[in-house]
Amino acid sequence: MTAALTRTSAAAAVDVWKVYGETEHTRVEALAGVSVEFERGRFTAIMGPSGSGKSTLMHVLAGLDTATEGEVWIGDTRIDTLGERATTKLRRQKLGFVFQQYNLLPTLTAAENITLPLAIGGDKPDPDWLAFVVDSVGLGDRLGHRPSELSGGQQQRVAFARALITKPDVIFADEPTGNLDSRSGSEVLELLQRSVDEFEQTVVMVTHDPKAASYADRVIFLADGRVVGEVSEPTPETVLERMKRLDGRRLEAPPIRR
């Protein structure tokens, strides 16, 4: 695995372990040897039941959490060996985030929230790009509103625009539709999809919802900290069917702890 290979993927994990607890009795393997690559310009969903390690995997990939063992790559940079300062810088330059709770600043307007990452970096927004991003979230005259005056779906679209504004290499989305009704959720997912189709944004989304996962180009299934399968060009039906099979398998054969 360490043989010199040029990394063409946007993000990758190579035999990544995340282990909590020291003794045999307290040992919990949140990730147990996960190897996965995320191609550029693609929308990949990570699916699995709660406790499968999908959020942990996303956090490790994004440098928000550290792996116990294994390699983590963002583009051609290996991030598990970087220091905290360098990781922070890399996140600022190359990654965007969308979380279930939107995490918008309540005292700022939608427009201010969107441009804040640029202001922090000391950059002026490219007016064309800003116009495009703002237009694509479809907020129109509500841009001057505070988050509390916007619906959940609108807030999440603002959060996505904020992630998009710095032109990140990868956008990580953790259950972005978890708090939304199905119509608002669809709007957010369509926006994610459009960013991939129209300007080759790379998106990695964690979800437990088969319908949300069906918007992706590819779905990776996680169970008990392991990659247990994947589906390309998913539909809600194929995802659901695969989920059921995995549940069945888990009941028959409990995972082997090492």
């Binding site: 928000l64 996140r91 985030f97 979380f99 995490n103 309540p106 804040l116 990452p117 922090i120 992630a163």
Partner: protein, 89 residues
């Protein structure tokens, strides 16, 4: 008396005065520079500052929620108010 005053107008005393002025302004500019950059070459003050600004940036970028931001900020504040040798693990 006249001899003494003459020393102020030239000679070694003037040189000393010049050195003092240069040192004084050097110190002022150094301090302004240090505060402006929000980080100096030493001291715990620098670490706390950068810890808080990193946290603020992560909050602004949506990496952490408001609740998480407040929690972590209070942890940093608590650590800053403790003697230095205690907060190094």
């Amino acid at each position: 008396m006249m001899l003494f005053a003459d020393h102020w107008h030239g000679g070694p005393w003037w040189g000393l005065w010049l050195a003092w002025v240069v040192l004084f302004w050097g110190a002022v500019f150094f301090l302004i520079f240090r505060i402006g950059r929000r980080r100096g070459p030493w001291g715990p003050w620098r670490e706390e500052r950068s810890g808080q600004s990193v946290l603020a940036e992560r909050y602004a970028r949506g990496e952490i929620s408001e609740e998480e931001y407040r929690q972590r900020l209070s942890v940093l504040d608590a650590a800053a108010n403790r003697p230095r040798n205690e907060n190094t693990r």
